[in-house]
Protein backbone atom coordinates (compact mmCIF):
# COMPACT_ATOMS: atom_id res chain seq x y z
CA UNK A 1 0.00 0.00 0.00
CA UNK A 2 2.79 2.42 0.85
CA UNK A 3 4.36 1.67 -2.50
CA UNK A 4 1.05 2.45 -4.12
CA UNK A 5 0.92 5.78 -2.29
CA UNK A 6 4.46 6.62 -3.33
CA UNK A 7 3.67 5.75 -6.93
CA UNK A 8 0.55 7.87 -6.78
CA UNK A 9 2.40 10.91 -5.48
CA UNK A 10 5.19 10.57 -8.00
CA UNK A 11 2.67 10.02 -10.80
CA UNK A 12 0.63 13.03 -9.76
CA UNK A 13 3.67 15.28 -9.52
CA UNK A 14 4.83 14.21 -12.98
CA UNK A 15 1.26 14.60 -14.17
CA UNK A 16 1.08 18.15 -12.84
CA UNK A 17 4.21 19.08 -14.76
CA UNK A 18 2.60 17.59 -17.85
CA UNK A 19 -0.48 19.63 -16.99
CA UNK A 20 1.52 22.86 -16.79
CA UNK A 21 3.06 22.23 -20.19
CA UNK A 22 -0.29 21.10 -21.58
CA UNK A 23 -2.11 24.16 -20.21
CA UNK A 24 0.23 26.41 -22.18
CA UNK A 25 -0.39 24.26 -25.22
CA UNK A 26 -4.14 24.55 -24.75
CA UNK A 27 -3.99 28.33 -24.33
CA UNK A 28 -2.14 28.70 -27.63
CA UNK A 29 -4.44 26.29 -29.39
CA UNK A 30 -7.55 28.00 -28.06
CA UNK A 31 -6.43 31.45 -29.10
CA UNK A 32 -4.86 30.74 -32.45
CA UNK A 33 -5.54 27.12 -33.54
CA UNK A 34 -1.80 26.43 -33.56
CA UNK A 35 -0.44 23.07 -32.41
CA UNK A 36 2.68 24.10 -30.59
CA UNK A 37 5.37 21.47 -31.06
CA UNK A 38 7.82 23.75 -29.27
CA UNK A 39 6.03 23.43 -25.92
CA UNK A 40 8.68 21.02 -24.62
CA UNK A 41 11.36 23.50 -25.55
CA UNK A 42 9.61 26.25 -23.59
CA UNK A 43 9.80 23.86 -20.62
CA UNK A 44 13.48 23.30 -21.36
CA UNK A 45 13.97 27.06 -21.53
CA UNK A 46 12.40 27.33 -18.07
CA UNK A 47 14.81 24.83 -16.51
CA UNK A 48 17.86 26.51 -18.03
CA UNK A 49 16.72 30.00 -17.16
CA UNK A 50 16.23 29.10 -13.50
CA UNK A 51 19.66 27.46 -13.55
CA UNK A 52 21.04 30.66 -15.05
CA UNK A 53 19.28 32.89 -12.53
CA UNK A 54 19.93 30.89 -9.36
CA UNK A 55 23.20 29.06 -9.95
CA UNK A 56 25.01 31.27 -12.43
CA UNK A 57 23.84 34.72 -11.39
CA UNK A 58 23.35 33.93 -7.72
CA UNK A 59 19.94 35.49 -7.28
CA UNK A 60 17.80 34.38 -4.32
CA UNK A 61 15.26 31.82 -5.48
CA UNK A 62 12.22 34.08 -5.22
CA UNK A 63 13.80 36.67 -7.48
CA UNK A 64 15.16 33.90 -9.68
CA UNK A 65 11.68 32.52 -10.30
CA UNK A 66 10.44 35.97 -11.23
CA UNK A 67 13.34 36.59 -13.61
CA UNK A 68 12.86 33.16 -15.20
CA UNK A 69 9.19 33.70 -15.86
CA UNK A 70 9.74 37.21 -17.21
CA UNK A 71 12.56 36.12 -19.52
CA UNK A 72 10.53 33.17 -20.79
CA UNK A 73 7.57 35.44 -21.50
CA UNK A 74 9.87 37.89 -23.29
CA UNK A 75 11.26 35.11 -25.51
CA UNK A 76 7.74 33.91 -26.29
CA UNK A 77 6.55 37.40 -27.21
CA UNK A 78 9.49 37.93 -29.56
CA UNK A 79 8.89 34.53 -31.14
CA UNK A 80 5.20 35.21 -31.57
CA UNK A 81 5.84 38.56 -33.18
CA UNK A 82 8.61 37.45 -35.53
CA UNK A 83 7.65 33.92 -36.45
CA UNK A 84 3.99 33.20 -35.78
CA UNK A 85 2.39 36.52 -36.69
CA UNK A 86 3.39 36.47 -40.39
CA UNK A 87 1.85 33.02 -40.76
CA UNK A 88 -1.61 33.71 -39.36
CA UNK A 89 -4.16 32.05 -41.64
CA UNK A 90 -1.69 29.72 -43.38
CA UNK A 91 -2.57 26.02 -43.79
CA UNK A 92 -2.19 23.68 -40.81
CA UNK A 93 0.94 22.04 -42.20
CA UNK A 94 2.72 25.41 -42.20
CA UNK A 95 1.72 26.14 -38.63
CA UNK A 96 2.90 22.72 -37.49
CA UNK A 97 6.19 22.99 -39.34
CA UNK A 98 6.90 26.49 -38.09
CA UNK A 99 6.62 25.40 -34.46
CA UNK A 100 8.82 22.38 -35.26
CA UNK A 101 11.37 24.75 -36.77
CA UNK A 102 11.08 26.92 -33.70
CA UNK A 103 11.67 23.94 -31.45
CA UNK A 104 14.85 23.16 -33.37
CA UNK A 105 16.09 26.75 -33.10
CA UNK A 106 15.35 26.99 -29.38
CA UNK A 107 17.07 23.68 -28.65
CA UNK A 108 20.09 24.59 -30.75
CA UNK A 109 20.38 27.94 -29.02
CA UNK A 110 20.01 26.45 -25.53
CA UNK A 111 22.63 23.80 -26.28
CA UNK A 112 24.97 26.42 -27.72
CA UNK A 113 24.66 28.59 -24.62
CA UNK A 114 24.69 26.01 -21.84
CA UNK A 115 26.28 22.97 -23.48
CA UNK A 116 24.83 19.48 -23.86
CA UNK A 117 25.84 18.13 -20.43
CA UNK A 118 23.37 17.88 -17.54
CA UNK A 119 23.76 20.64 -14.97
CA UNK A 120 22.64 20.78 -11.39
CA UNK A 121 21.79 23.52 -8.92
CA UNK A 122 20.82 23.48 -5.31
CA UNK A 123 17.13 22.71 -5.19
CA UNK A 124 15.11 25.34 -3.37
CA UNK A 125 12.10 23.14 -2.92
CA UNK A 126 12.51 21.34 0.44
CA UNK A 127 14.82 18.41 -0.12
CA UNK A 128 13.85 16.07 2.72
CA UNK A 129 11.36 13.27 2.80
CA UNK A 130 7.85 13.47 4.04
CA UNK A 131 6.64 10.55 6.13
CA UNK A 132 2.90 10.03 5.94
CA UNK A 133 1.90 6.85 7.74
CA UNK A 134 3.87 4.01 6.17
CA UNK A 135 4.87 5.92 3.04
CA UNK A 136 8.03 7.97 2.54
CA UNK A 137 7.48 10.67 -0.04
CA UNK A 138 9.86 13.19 -1.51
CA UNK A 139 8.81 16.56 -0.15
CA UNK A 140 9.66 18.38 -3.37
CA UNK A 141 7.38 16.11 -5.35
CA UNK A 142 4.53 16.46 -2.86
CA UNK A 143 4.94 20.21 -2.82
CA UNK A 144 4.99 20.48 -6.61
CA UNK A 145 1.40 19.26 -6.78
CA UNK A 146 -0.24 22.19 -4.95
CA UNK A 147 2.08 24.67 -6.69
CA UNK A 148 1.02 23.41 -10.10
CA UNK A 149 -2.62 23.32 -9.10
CA UNK A 150 -2.40 26.91 -7.88
CA UNK A 151 -0.87 28.07 -11.17
CA UNK A 152 -3.48 26.18 -13.18
CA UNK A 153 -6.28 27.60 -11.04
CA UNK A 154 -4.81 31.03 -11.68
CA UNK A 155 -4.99 30.37 -15.41
CA UNK A 156 -8.61 29.28 -15.03
CA UNK A 157 -9.47 32.47 -13.12
CA UNK A 158 -7.67 34.50 -15.75
CA UNK A 159 -9.93 33.07 -18.43
CA UNK A 160 -13.00 33.65 -16.37
CA UNK A 161 -12.54 37.15 -15.03
CA UNK A 162 -9.89 39.22 -16.80
CA UNK A 163 -10.46 41.28 -19.90
CA UNK A 164 -7.79 39.47 -21.92
CA UNK A 165 -9.04 36.11 -20.76
CA UNK A 166 -12.57 36.86 -21.88
CA UNK A 167 -11.27 38.27 -25.16
CA UNK A 168 -9.40 35.02 -25.68
CA UNK A 169 -12.52 32.97 -25.11
CA UNK A 170 -14.41 35.21 -27.49
CA UNK A 171 -11.82 34.62 -30.20
CA UNK A 172 -11.87 30.89 -29.60
CA UNK A 173 -15.63 30.97 -29.93
CA UNK A 174 -15.96 33.07 -33.07
CA UNK A 175 -13.03 34.93 -34.50
CA UNK A 176 -15.07 37.12 -36.87
CA UNK A 177 -17.54 38.21 -34.23
CA UNK A 178 -14.70 38.95 -31.82
CA UNK A 179 -12.98 41.05 -34.46
CA UNK A 180 -16.10 43.04 -35.13
CA UNK A 181 -16.48 43.76 -31.41
CA UNK A 182 -13.09 45.46 -31.50
CA UNK A 183 -10.98 42.74 -29.91
CA UNK A 184 -7.38 42.99 -31.05
CA UNK A 185 -6.39 39.56 -32.29
CA UNK A 186 -2.63 40.23 -32.41
CA UNK A 187 -2.75 41.31 -28.78
CA UNK A 188 -4.61 38.17 -27.79
CA UNK A 189 -2.15 35.95 -29.67
CA UNK A 190 0.68 37.69 -27.87
CA UNK A 191 -0.98 37.20 -24.50
CA UNK A 192 -1.58 33.53 -25.32
CA UNK A 193 2.09 32.92 -26.10
CA UNK A 194 3.15 34.85 -23.03
CA UNK A 195 0.87 32.77 -20.79
CA UNK A 196 1.99 29.53 -22.41
CA UNK A 197 5.62 30.45 -21.83
CA UNK A 198 4.94 31.46 -18.22
CA UNK A 199 3.16 28.24 -17.37
CA UNK A 200 5.82 26.18 -19.15
CA UNK A 201 8.54 28.13 -17.31
CA UNK A 202 6.98 27.28 -13.95
CA UNK A 203 6.82 23.64 -15.02
CA UNK A 204 10.46 23.92 -16.05
CA UNK A 205 11.44 25.42 -12.69
CA UNK A 206 9.82 22.52 -10.86
CA UNK A 207 11.45 20.00 -13.18
CA UNK A 208 14.81 21.66 -12.61
CA UNK A 209 14.32 21.23 -8.87
CA UNK A 210 13.08 17.66 -9.02
CA UNK A 211 15.09 15.99 -11.78
CA UNK A 212 17.84 18.50 -12.60
CA UNK A 213 18.75 20.46 -15.69
CA UNK A 214 19.44 18.55 -18.90
CA UNK A 215 18.49 18.70 -22.58
CA UNK A 216 16.35 15.56 -22.13
CA UNK A 217 13.67 17.66 -20.45
CA UNK A 218 12.39 18.64 -23.91
CA UNK A 219 11.21 15.07 -24.48
CA UNK A 220 8.31 15.88 -22.17
CA UNK A 221 7.00 18.12 -24.93
CA UNK A 222 5.76 15.04 -26.77
CA UNK A 223 3.93 13.77 -23.70
CA UNK A 224 1.76 16.86 -24.01
CA UNK A 225 -0.10 15.34 -26.95
CA UNK A 226 -1.65 12.37 -25.14
CA UNK A 227 -2.51 14.72 -22.27
CA UNK A 228 -4.30 17.31 -24.36
CA UNK A 229 -6.08 14.80 -26.56
CA UNK A 230 -7.32 12.92 -23.51
CA UNK A 231 -8.40 16.09 -21.73
CA UNK A 232 -9.70 17.91 -24.78
CA UNK A 233 -7.62 20.21 -26.96
CA UNK A 234 -9.32 23.38 -25.79
CA UNK A 235 -9.84 22.78 -22.09
CA UNK A 236 -7.57 23.85 -19.20
CA UNK A 237 -9.51 21.58 -16.88
CA UNK A 238 -8.88 18.81 -19.40
CA UNK A 239 -5.15 19.52 -19.27
CA UNK A 240 -5.15 19.07 -15.47
CA UNK A 241 -7.23 15.89 -15.46
CA UNK A 242 -5.46 14.52 -18.55
CA UNK A 243 -2.06 15.29 -17.05
CA UNK A 244 -2.95 13.53 -13.81
CA UNK A 245 -4.32 10.47 -15.62
CA UNK A 246 -1.36 10.14 -17.98
CA UNK A 247 1.15 10.73 -15.17
CA UNK A 248 -0.48 8.10 -12.96
CA UNK A 249 -0.89 5.64 -15.81
CA UNK A 250 2.79 5.89 -16.62
CA UNK A 251 4.03 5.10 -13.12
CA UNK A 252 1.46 2.36 -12.50
CA UNK A 253 2.19 0.65 -15.80
CA UNK A 254 5.91 1.16 -15.30
CA UNK A 255 5.80 -0.50 -11.89
CA UNK A 256 3.12 -3.17 -12.20
CA UNK A 257 3.55 -4.17 -15.86
CA UNK A 258 7.08 -3.14 -16.74
CA UNK A 259 8.77 -4.05 -20.06
CA UNK A 260 9.15 -0.35 -20.84
CA UNK A 261 5.44 -0.33 -21.61
CA UNK A 262 5.09 2.91 -19.65
CA UNK A 263 6.83 4.68 -22.56
CA UNK A 264 4.17 3.72 -25.06
CA UNK A 265 1.00 3.55 -22.99
CA UNK A 266 0.21 7.30 -23.30
CA UNK A 267 0.20 6.96 -27.07
CA UNK A 268 -2.02 3.90 -26.99
CA UNK A 269 -4.43 5.96 -24.89
CA UNK A 270 -4.14 8.75 -27.44
CA UNK A 271 -5.10 6.46 -30.34
CA UNK A 272 -7.97 5.01 -28.34
CA UNK A 273 -9.33 8.45 -27.43
CA UNK A 274 -9.05 9.63 -31.03
CA UNK A 275 -11.09 6.66 -32.16
CA UNK A 276 -13.77 6.80 -29.50
CA UNK A 277 -14.03 10.41 -28.43
CA UNK A 278 -11.77 12.69 -30.48
CA UNK A 279 -12.73 15.85 -28.58
CA UNK A 280 -11.48 14.32 -25.32
CA UNK A 281 -13.01 14.39 -21.87
CA UNK A 282 -13.75 18.10 -21.65
CA UNK A 283 -13.25 19.43 -25.17
CA UNK A 284 -15.85 21.15 -27.24
CA UNK A 285 -17.70 18.61 -29.33
CA UNK A 286 -16.83 20.18 -32.64
CA UNK A 287 -14.71 18.07 -34.86
CA UNK A 288 -14.55 18.02 -38.58
CA UNK A 289 -15.60 14.65 -39.84
CA UNK A 290 -14.74 13.49 -43.30
Amino acid sequence: MDIFLQLTVSGLSTGMIYALAAAGFVVIYKASDVLNFAQGDLLLLGTYLIFFAVAQTGLPWSLGVLVTVLLAVAVALVVERLVLRPLVGEPIISMIMVTIGLSSVLRGAINAIWGPNPRAFESFLPAGDLVIGPAVLSAARVLSIPIALAVLAGLGLFFRYTRDGIAMRAIADDQQAALSMGISIPRVFGVAWGLAAASAAIGGIMLGNIVGVSPNVAAIGLRVFPVVILGGLDSIKGAVVGGAIIGLLEVYVGFYVGHGLNLVVPYLVLILVLMVRPYGLFGKEIIERV
Binding site: G108, F225, I229, L261, Y267
Partner: protein, 357 residues
Amino acid sequence: MSMECGVFHTRYESDMGLRPRPAQRIRLVLFALFVLVFPFVASTYWLDLANQVAIATVGAIGLNILVGHTGQISLGQGAFMAIGAYTAGLLTLNFGVPWGASVFCACILTAVAGTFFGLPSLRLKGLYLAIATLAAQEIVEWAMTHWTTVTGGTEAIVVPAPRLFGLRLNTTFNFYWLAVLTAAGTALFAANLFRCRIGRAFEAVRDQDIAASVIGVDVFRTKLLAFATSSFFVGLAGAMIAFYRNIVTWERFTLNTSIVYLAMIIVGGLGSIRGSFLGAALITLLPALITNLGRAIQDTAPQAASLLPYAQQAVFGIVIILFLIFEPRGLSKLWENVKDYFHVWPFAYRRGESRAN
Protein backbone atom coordinates in the same frame (compact mmCIF):
# COMPACT_ATOMS: atom_id res chain seq x y z
CA MET B 1 -1.09 22.51 -64.08
CA SER B 2 -0.80 26.16 -64.78
CA MET B 3 -0.46 27.43 -68.31
CA GLU B 4 2.80 28.90 -69.37
CA CYS B 5 3.02 32.23 -71.08
CA GLY B 6 4.50 32.29 -74.54
CA VAL B 7 4.08 28.55 -75.16
CA PHE B 8 1.74 27.64 -77.97
CA HIS B 9 1.02 23.97 -78.47
CA THR B 10 0.00 23.05 -81.99
CA ARG B 11 -0.21 19.28 -81.54
CA TYR B 12 -1.83 17.16 -78.86
CA GLU B 13 1.40 15.22 -78.34
CA SER B 14 3.25 18.34 -77.32
CA ASP B 15 0.36 19.44 -75.11
CA MET B 16 0.44 16.09 -73.33
CA GLY B 17 4.24 15.83 -73.15
CA LEU B 18 6.04 15.67 -69.84
CA ARG B 19 8.68 18.10 -70.99
CA PRO B 20 7.39 19.56 -74.26
CA ARG B 21 9.71 22.54 -74.67
CA PRO B 22 13.19 22.27 -76.17
CA ALA B 23 14.66 24.23 -73.25
CA GLN B 24 13.20 21.70 -70.85
CA ARG B 25 14.68 18.81 -72.82
CA ILE B 26 18.07 20.47 -72.97
CA ARG B 27 18.02 21.01 -69.22
CA LEU B 28 17.05 17.37 -68.69
CA VAL B 29 19.91 16.18 -70.90
CA LEU B 30 22.38 18.46 -69.13
CA PHE B 31 21.21 17.17 -65.75
CA ALA B 32 21.46 13.56 -66.96
CA LEU B 33 24.99 14.22 -68.22
CA PHE B 34 25.93 15.68 -64.87
CA VAL B 35 24.53 12.63 -63.09
CA LEU B 36 26.48 10.32 -65.45
CA VAL B 37 29.79 12.12 -65.10
CA PHE B 38 29.53 12.96 -61.40
CA PRO B 39 30.64 9.60 -59.90
CA PHE B 40 33.81 9.59 -62.00
CA VAL B 41 35.01 12.96 -60.76
CA ALA B 42 33.60 13.13 -57.23
CA SER B 43 35.39 11.90 -54.12
CA THR B 44 33.89 9.06 -52.06
CA TYR B 45 32.67 11.62 -49.54
CA TRP B 46 30.58 13.52 -52.07
CA LEU B 47 29.48 10.31 -53.74
CA ASP B 48 28.18 9.07 -50.41
CA LEU B 49 26.28 12.33 -50.00
CA ALA B 50 24.85 11.91 -53.50
CA ASN B 51 23.62 8.45 -52.54
CA GLN B 52 21.98 9.86 -49.45
CA VAL B 53 20.32 12.55 -51.55
CA ALA B 54 19.00 9.92 -53.98
CA ILE B 55 17.54 7.83 -51.14
CA ALA B 56 16.09 10.93 -49.51
CA THR B 57 14.55 11.92 -52.85
CA VAL B 58 12.67 8.63 -53.02
CA GLY B 59 11.44 9.08 -49.44
CA ALA B 60 10.56 12.74 -49.97
CA ILE B 61 8.60 12.03 -53.15
CA GLY B 62 6.72 9.36 -51.20
CA LEU B 63 5.92 11.74 -48.36
CA ASN B 64 5.02 14.52 -50.77
CA ILE B 65 2.45 12.30 -52.49
CA LEU B 66 0.67 12.09 -49.14
CA VAL B 67 1.28 15.52 -47.62
CA GLY B 68 1.80 17.81 -50.57
CA HIS B 69 -0.56 16.28 -53.11
CA THR B 70 -3.28 14.74 -50.95
CA GLY B 71 -3.09 17.13 -48.01
CA GLN B 72 -2.89 14.46 -45.30
CA ILE B 73 -0.31 15.48 -42.72
CA SER B 74 1.87 12.60 -41.57
CA LEU B 75 4.42 12.64 -38.78
CA GLY B 76 4.95 8.89 -39.23
CA GLN B 77 7.54 8.96 -42.01
CA GLY B 78 10.25 7.55 -39.73
CA ALA B 79 7.98 4.69 -38.69
CA PHE B 80 7.17 3.76 -42.29
CA MET B 81 10.81 3.88 -43.31
CA ALA B 82 11.57 1.67 -40.34
CA ILE B 83 8.99 -0.87 -41.47
CA GLY B 84 10.58 -0.90 -44.92
CA ALA B 85 14.13 -1.17 -43.60
CA TYR B 86 13.41 -3.85 -41.00
CA THR B 87 11.32 -5.94 -43.40
CA ALA B 88 13.98 -5.86 -46.10
CA GLY B 89 16.81 -6.48 -43.65
CA LEU B 90 15.14 -9.27 -41.68
CA LEU B 91 13.85 -11.12 -44.75
CA THR B 92 17.32 -11.26 -46.26
CA LEU B 93 19.10 -11.95 -43.00
CA ASN B 94 16.80 -14.62 -41.53
CA PHE B 95 15.23 -16.26 -44.57
CA GLY B 96 17.88 -15.67 -47.22
CA VAL B 97 15.42 -13.94 -49.53
CA PRO B 98 17.27 -12.37 -52.50
CA TRP B 99 17.67 -8.63 -52.00
CA GLY B 100 15.45 -7.61 -54.91
CA ALA B 101 12.57 -9.71 -53.65
CA SER B 102 12.96 -8.54 -50.08
CA VAL B 103 12.98 -4.90 -51.19
CA PHE B 104 9.75 -5.53 -53.05
CA CYS B 105 8.20 -7.28 -50.03
CA ALA B 106 9.31 -4.34 -47.87
CA CYS B 107 7.54 -1.89 -50.16
CA ILE B 108 4.34 -3.94 -50.19
CA LEU B 109 4.34 -4.44 -46.43
CA THR B 110 4.97 -0.73 -45.81
CA ALA B 111 2.12 0.09 -48.18
CA VAL B 112 -0.16 -2.23 -46.18
CA ALA B 113 0.98 -0.68 -42.91
CA GLY B 114 0.51 2.80 -44.37
CA THR B 115 -3.03 1.95 -45.41
CA PHE B 116 -3.72 0.69 -41.90
CA PHE B 117 -2.43 3.89 -40.30
CA GLY B 118 -4.42 5.80 -42.90
CA LEU B 119 -7.65 4.37 -41.57
CA PRO B 120 -8.03 7.11 -38.91
CA SER B 121 -8.17 9.60 -41.81
CA LEU B 122 -11.72 8.34 -42.28
CA ARG B 123 -12.67 10.17 -39.12
CA LEU B 124 -9.87 12.62 -38.50
CA LYS B 125 -8.77 15.66 -40.38
CA GLY B 126 -5.91 18.08 -40.27
CA LEU B 127 -4.24 18.37 -36.92
CA TYR B 128 -6.00 15.40 -35.39
CA LEU B 129 -4.55 13.24 -38.13
CA ALA B 130 -1.13 14.76 -37.48
CA ILE B 131 -1.39 13.80 -33.82
CA ALA B 132 -2.60 10.29 -34.69
CA THR B 133 0.40 9.73 -36.96
CA LEU B 134 2.64 11.10 -34.21
CA ALA B 135 1.27 8.43 -31.90
CA ALA B 136 1.82 5.80 -34.62
CA GLN B 137 5.42 6.94 -34.89
CA GLU B 138 5.95 6.63 -31.13
CA ILE B 139 4.33 3.19 -31.04
CA VAL B 140 6.45 1.87 -33.92
CA GLU B 141 9.55 3.37 -32.31
CA TRP B 142 8.71 1.55 -29.11
CA ALA B 143 8.14 -1.70 -30.98
CA MET B 144 11.52 -1.33 -32.69
CA THR B 145 13.38 -0.98 -29.42
CA HIS B 146 11.35 -3.37 -27.25
CA TRP B 147 10.16 -6.18 -29.53
CA THR B 148 13.56 -7.82 -29.22
CA THR B 149 12.69 -11.24 -30.62
CA VAL B 150 11.98 -9.75 -34.04
CA THR B 151 13.87 -6.49 -34.33
CA GLY B 152 16.80 -7.25 -32.08
CA GLY B 153 15.85 -4.30 -29.89
CA THR B 154 18.44 -1.57 -29.61
CA GLU B 155 21.10 -3.79 -31.23
CA ALA B 156 21.68 -3.15 -34.90
CA ILE B 157 20.83 -5.96 -37.30
CA VAL B 158 23.47 -6.64 -39.93
CA VAL B 159 22.13 -7.06 -43.44
CA PRO B 160 24.07 -9.18 -45.98
CA ALA B 161 25.45 -7.10 -48.83
CA PRO B 162 23.36 -7.17 -52.02
CA ARG B 163 25.11 -8.72 -55.03
CA LEU B 164 24.38 -8.64 -58.74
CA PHE B 165 26.39 -10.80 -61.18
CA GLY B 166 28.93 -11.31 -58.41
CA LEU B 167 29.27 -7.56 -57.98
CA ARG B 168 28.88 -6.04 -54.52
CA LEU B 169 26.20 -3.41 -54.93
CA ASN B 170 26.55 -1.38 -51.79
CA THR B 171 29.94 0.12 -52.39
CA THR B 172 29.54 3.85 -52.76
CA PHE B 173 30.24 3.77 -56.48
CA ASN B 174 28.04 0.80 -57.39
CA PHE B 175 25.17 1.84 -55.19
CA TYR B 176 25.15 5.24 -56.84
CA TRP B 177 23.78 3.79 -60.06
CA LEU B 178 21.14 1.77 -58.28
CA ALA B 179 20.09 4.75 -56.17
CA VAL B 180 19.97 7.18 -59.08
CA LEU B 181 17.95 4.75 -61.21
CA THR B 182 15.50 4.17 -58.37
CA ALA B 183 15.13 7.89 -57.70
CA ALA B 184 14.61 8.60 -61.40
CA GLY B 185 12.06 5.80 -61.68
CA THR B 186 10.19 7.08 -58.64
CA ALA B 187 10.15 10.62 -60.01
CA LEU B 188 8.89 9.40 -63.39
CA PHE B 189 6.16 7.32 -61.76
CA ALA B 190 5.04 10.23 -59.58
CA ALA B 191 5.10 12.68 -62.49
CA ASN B 192 2.81 10.41 -64.47
CA LEU B 193 0.64 9.61 -61.47
CA PHE B 194 -0.41 13.23 -61.24
CA ARG B 195 -1.27 13.35 -64.92
CA CYS B 196 -3.82 10.57 -64.63
CA ARG B 197 -7.14 10.09 -62.88
CA ILE B 198 -5.86 8.75 -59.56
CA GLY B 199 -3.35 11.53 -59.03
CA ARG B 200 -5.85 14.19 -60.00
CA ALA B 201 -8.25 12.66 -57.48
CA PHE B 202 -5.55 13.00 -54.79
CA GLU B 203 -5.23 16.71 -55.54
CA ALA B 204 -8.99 17.17 -55.67
CA VAL B 205 -9.26 15.68 -52.18
CA ARG B 206 -6.55 18.03 -50.96
CA ASP B 207 -8.13 21.16 -52.43
CA GLN B 208 -11.75 20.55 -51.50
CA ASP B 209 -12.78 17.12 -50.30
CA ILE B 210 -16.50 17.81 -50.36
CA ALA B 211 -16.38 19.13 -53.92
CA ALA B 212 -14.26 16.12 -54.86
CA SER B 213 -16.87 13.71 -53.55
CA VAL B 214 -19.56 15.63 -55.45
CA ILE B 215 -17.79 15.09 -58.75
CA GLY B 216 -17.52 11.39 -58.10
CA VAL B 217 -14.26 10.89 -56.23
CA ASP B 218 -14.56 8.31 -53.47
CA VAL B 219 -12.77 10.41 -50.85
CA PHE B 220 -12.00 7.68 -48.33
CA ARG B 221 -10.75 5.23 -50.95
CA THR B 222 -8.62 7.96 -52.50
CA LYS B 223 -7.08 8.83 -49.16
CA LEU B 224 -6.25 5.20 -48.43
CA LEU B 225 -4.78 4.85 -51.91
CA ALA B 226 -2.67 7.93 -51.25
CA PHE B 227 -1.46 6.43 -47.97
CA ALA B 228 -0.63 3.16 -49.74
CA THR B 229 1.17 4.77 -52.70
CA SER B 230 3.08 7.12 -50.46
CA SER B 231 4.11 4.39 -48.02
CA PHE B 232 5.23 2.16 -50.89
CA PHE B 233 7.95 4.64 -51.80
CA VAL B 234 8.73 5.50 -48.21
CA GLY B 235 9.25 1.78 -47.59
CA LEU B 236 11.45 1.65 -50.69
CA ALA B 237 13.61 4.43 -49.25
CA GLY B 238 13.82 2.53 -45.96
CA ALA B 239 14.84 -0.68 -47.69
CA MET B 240 17.49 1.21 -49.69
CA ILE B 241 18.96 2.54 -46.46
CA ALA B 242 19.05 -0.99 -45.04
CA PHE B 243 21.04 -2.35 -47.99
CA TYR B 244 23.22 0.70 -48.46
CA ARG B 245 24.28 0.93 -44.84
CA ASN B 246 24.40 -2.82 -44.29
CA ILE B 247 22.88 -2.33 -40.86
CA VAL B 248 19.46 -1.38 -39.57
CA THR B 249 19.22 0.51 -36.30
CA TRP B 250 16.27 2.20 -34.73
CA GLU B 251 18.11 5.52 -34.36
CA ARG B 252 17.72 6.15 -38.07
CA PHE B 253 13.93 6.07 -37.90
CA THR B 254 12.90 8.28 -35.01
CA LEU B 255 10.44 11.15 -34.93
CA ASN B 256 13.38 13.30 -35.92
CA THR B 257 13.48 11.45 -39.26
CA SER B 258 9.83 12.30 -39.82
CA ILE B 259 10.58 15.94 -39.11
CA VAL B 260 13.60 16.01 -41.40
CA TYR B 261 11.53 14.60 -44.28
CA LEU B 262 8.70 17.06 -43.64
CA ALA B 263 11.33 19.81 -43.72
CA MET B 264 12.54 18.51 -47.09
CA ILE B 265 9.14 18.81 -48.72
CA ILE B 266 8.39 22.16 -47.07
CA VAL B 267 11.70 23.64 -48.15
CA GLY B 268 11.51 22.01 -51.59
CA GLY B 269 7.87 22.74 -52.26
CA LEU B 270 4.69 20.92 -51.26
CA GLY B 271 3.10 19.03 -54.11
CA SER B 272 6.08 19.26 -56.41
CA ILE B 273 8.32 16.42 -57.57
CA ARG B 274 11.12 18.77 -58.49
CA GLY B 275 10.64 20.27 -55.04
CA SER B 276 11.02 16.86 -53.40
CA PHE B 277 14.39 16.45 -55.06
CA LEU B 278 15.59 20.00 -54.35
CA GLY B 279 14.44 19.82 -50.73
CA ALA B 280 16.01 16.39 -50.22
CA ALA B 281 19.26 17.72 -51.64
CA LEU B 282 19.30 20.90 -49.55
CA ILE B 283 18.34 19.28 -46.24
CA THR B 284 20.76 16.36 -46.77
CA LEU B 285 23.65 18.61 -47.77
CA LEU B 286 23.02 21.28 -45.12
CA PRO B 287 24.71 19.41 -42.22
CA ALA B 288 27.61 18.46 -44.49
CA LEU B 289 28.06 22.07 -45.57
CA ILE B 290 28.01 23.29 -41.98
CA THR B 291 30.50 20.60 -40.93
CA ASN B 292 32.82 21.62 -43.76
CA LEU B 293 32.46 25.23 -42.72
CA GLY B 294 33.41 24.17 -39.21
CA ARG B 295 36.58 22.48 -40.49
CA ALA B 296 37.42 25.57 -42.50
CA ILE B 297 37.22 27.94 -39.55
CA GLN B 298 38.68 25.49 -37.02
CA ASP B 299 42.06 27.18 -37.03
CA THR B 300 41.00 30.79 -37.22
CA ALA B 301 38.09 30.63 -34.78
CA PRO B 302 38.13 27.42 -32.73
CA GLN B 303 35.55 28.88 -30.34
CA ALA B 304 32.99 29.32 -33.07
CA ALA B 305 33.80 25.92 -34.56
CA SER B 306 32.94 24.16 -31.31
CA LEU B 307 29.45 25.66 -31.44
CA LEU B 308 28.76 24.29 -34.91
CA PRO B 309 26.94 21.09 -33.94
CA TYR B 310 24.33 23.23 -32.19
CA ALA B 311 24.36 25.76 -34.97
CA GLN B 312 23.44 22.86 -37.25
CA GLN B 313 20.25 22.27 -35.29
CA ALA B 314 19.42 25.95 -35.13
CA VAL B 315 20.12 26.53 -38.82
CA PHE B 316 17.85 23.60 -39.70
CA GLY B 317 15.03 25.32 -37.82
CA ILE B 318 15.83 28.74 -39.24
CA VAL B 319 15.76 27.41 -42.81
CA ILE B 320 12.29 25.93 -42.23
CA ILE B 321 10.98 29.14 -40.67
CA LEU B 322 12.44 31.40 -43.36
CA PHE B 323 10.97 29.31 -46.16
CA LEU B 324 7.56 29.21 -44.50
CA ILE B 325 7.49 32.97 -44.05
CA PHE B 326 9.09 34.14 -47.28
CA GLU B 327 8.51 31.38 -49.86
CA PRO B 328 5.94 28.85 -48.65
CA ARG B 329 6.08 27.10 -52.02
CA GLY B 330 9.72 26.38 -51.59
CA LEU B 331 12.77 26.00 -53.78
CA SER B 332 10.61 24.67 -56.58
CA LYS B 333 8.81 28.01 -56.81
CA LEU B 334 12.09 29.92 -56.64
CA TRP B 335 13.40 27.88 -59.57
CA GLU B 336 10.18 28.54 -61.48
CA ASN B 337 10.53 32.27 -60.86
CA VAL B 338 14.03 32.20 -62.31
CA LYS B 339 12.83 30.24 -65.34
CA ASP B 340 9.84 32.51 -65.92
CA TYR B 341 12.03 35.54 -65.75
CA PHE B 342 14.28 34.33 -68.53
CA HIS B 343 11.52 32.65 -70.49
CA VAL B 344 9.85 35.87 -71.63
CA TRP B 345 12.82 38.13 -71.05
CA PRO B 346 12.96 41.13 -71.52
CA PHE B 347 9.26 41.35 -70.68
CA ALA B 348 8.08 41.23 -67.10
CA TYR B 349 5.68 38.41 -66.46
CA ARG B 350 4.84 36.41 -63.37
CA ARG B 351 2.87 33.26 -63.70
CA GLY B 352 -0.46 33.52 -61.91
CA GLU B 353 -0.58 32.38 -58.31
CA SER B 354 -3.41 30.07 -59.24
CA ARG B 355 -2.40 26.88 -57.52
CA ALA B 356 -3.41 27.87 -54.01
CA ASN B 357 -3.49 25.27 -51.31
